[in-house]
Symmetry: C2
DNA sequence: TTGAAAGCGCTAACAA
DNA sequence: TTGTTAGCGCTTTCAA
């Protein structure tokens, strides 16, 4: 008895044999190249259909002179994070228009994992990569870039030259947030930030300092808490801040989960209508909380589109000097950032 | 002047030449295969390093007898959706352990787009696919499956046999939610659901009906609203329901965005502490709202892990009969579902 | 332990 | 318009 499942996958040769033409002709038909008679085209198409022929892009890109795989790599920190997945989606949409597929991976902000994934992508000969660089040195990225792989960094800039990047207005928007709080009369504005090794954290902190300076306020070192990786650490920090003899009347939380942690504490102490709060990064339902949360909103689809645009330009052969594109974020006033300090 | 960028990518041949061995020996070293003298291994490694050689998986998988690409495809509805991206992440984690990369795409619940993406994956000879089937017929999926491509459906079952799938307890958990509301004395429980073409919507509606029946309640047709695709439509529907002469005292919202839309309306009418609400699908900050929202929570990482486990088993050669795995969801009581009806 | 020859499925370069 | 030959970078097969 024949086992039906054991049929060999049909190739161009099989199609050619059935259509009584050469493989080259089949190739022309499959790829819609000119120089094939209308009648022959039909015969080849019919043969392909009969056999259930599927083109093999792997074999094709191996032989083709441009060596394109029609695939790009995306290496973000955590694909389940809303920011990362929104970016991925934006890149994917652009890729689809070029018939390009996306190989996606999460590097968990781990250098060696990022290096491994990069090697994996490299072995598959992706046409380019969009990367959220893991903290620390970027040797692996630089090395891959110098091999000639088109590369765009998002969210964080390269520590080496020669590659494009797309970031948001971390510093300027943070400054704006602090100025907003200061304009309401707040003089004791706390800063709660994520890991200091992150470029974005540093930028947001610098913006905070600039805001204070511009508003003529003095920095109170004890109101600055950093390395708050996760909502739990943020809760602890917020608790300590509010326990100070002279607690802050406003909080600037420089990251998503930090904002959530701080909110929990304010709520637990029933201070959420008395202590002002502005967070960096928008989040779902921020408008449904009480009070609704004022945030700095990044233009995530905009970041993704720009990154995609750049990588495809480079893949297309653009050799102009590297670009650092900055996509503006905006302050979304919802209430929590518009609370004035209690009169003294 | 030489253009440094014009160097040809080194191949195994180049490495072989430099190490003064055959390409076969290089192949053995690169793939850590036995049968290579310790001394030769070192010479080859050194040569590879000197030249900056990168193995070409594309060429390798073309020639190799198993034809594996060490790549799987993931085709979900929308990768920027938290449910989808959490699933992707779970699959990716499992894939990484096998040195497999993930080609990811969003089909937007569009059949023809799904078909196109499937063809793209197929052309790249992925070793298997994990798919969230788009609504309507599944001809393309079935066809691909019947070619022999290992396939696991998630969230929604296949309309054809012969393939694995992983879903959640849509019906049972919906029944449980309705029974919870009924046990508090609610007799007028509304159902607000997503598109009726979705299998999950149908299942959740069936669970709703079962819950009513089991509680001895009569179905009031006017309390059932379906095809609410997006928060806006849900808002409209909720408004209409609350405008009824005899409005519902409890809402069962069978999808994420529907829950959000309903909440907005309850809040706008200041009914959020008086009308009970249970939603299907958890969402971030559901516990920070007032009242905190009671939901049916799917075990998303569990779904993803199970799907990954199945696809890798099939890729590994498992030919046992197709499985329909069901991952239990759980009712998370937070407050909004524990509101009793006003006394009459 | 090592290598020579053939060929995976396809396209480039040329010729007819 | 169509076909022939060679070869992409690698692994298989088989021989040394």
């Amino acid at each position: 008895m024949d086992q039906a499942g054991e049929r060999r996958e049909p190739t161009m040769r099989d199609v050619a044999a059935l259509a009584k033409v050469s493989t080259k002709t089949v190739s022309r038909v499959i790829n819609d190249l000119p120089g094939a008679g209308a009648e022959v085209v039909e015969r080849v198409r019919a043969a392909a259909r009969t056999l259930g022929y599927r083109p093999n892009l792997t074999a094709s890109s191996l032989r083709r002179s441009d060596k394109r795989s029609a695939t790009i790599g995306v290496l973000f920190e955590d694909l389940s994070n809303p920011f990362d997945s929104a970016l991925l989606r934006a890149v994917e949409d652009r890729a689809r228009h070029s018939g390009v597929l996306v190989l996606a991976g999460s590097s968990e902000d781990d250098q060696s994992l990022q290096r491994e994934l990069l090697v994996s992508l490299s072995a598959r000969r992706v046409d380019g990569v969009v990367v959220m660089a893991a903290g620390g040195h970027q040797d692996a990225l630089q090395q891959e870039r110098e091999r000639g792989t088109p590369m765009v960094l998002v969210d964080r800039p390269p520590t080496f030259g020669s590659t494009d990047c797309v970031t948001t207005t971390n510093r300027e928007s943070s400054r704006e947030a602090v100025l907003q709080l200061a304009s309401l009369g707040h003089r004791d504005i706390a800063f709660l930030g994520d890991r200091r090794t992150l470029w974005t954290s540093q930028e947001r902190y610098t913006g905070y300092l600039e805001g204070l300076a511009q508003a003529g306020l003095t920095l109170r070192e004890e109101l600055v808490r950093t390395d708050l990786h996760g909502a739990d650490l943020a809760e602890t920090a917020a608790t300590e801040l509010l326990d100070l003899a002279s607690p802050p009347t406003a909080l600037f939380t420089a990251q998503n989960l930090v904002t959530v942690g701080a909110m929990r504490v304010l709520r637990a102490r029933d201070l959420h209508h008395h202590t002002a709060l502005i967070g960096f990064d928008d989040f779902p339902l921020a408008d449904m909380l009480e009070p609704a949360v004022t945030v700095v909103r990044q233009d995530v689809p905009g970041l993704g589109r720009k990154a995609a645009e750049l990588i495809f330009a480079r893949i297309g052969g653009d050799t102009s000097p590297p670009v650092h594109a900055v996509v503006p974020a905006s302050l979304v006033r919802r209430g929590s950032g518009e609370i004035s300090p209690a009169r003294t």
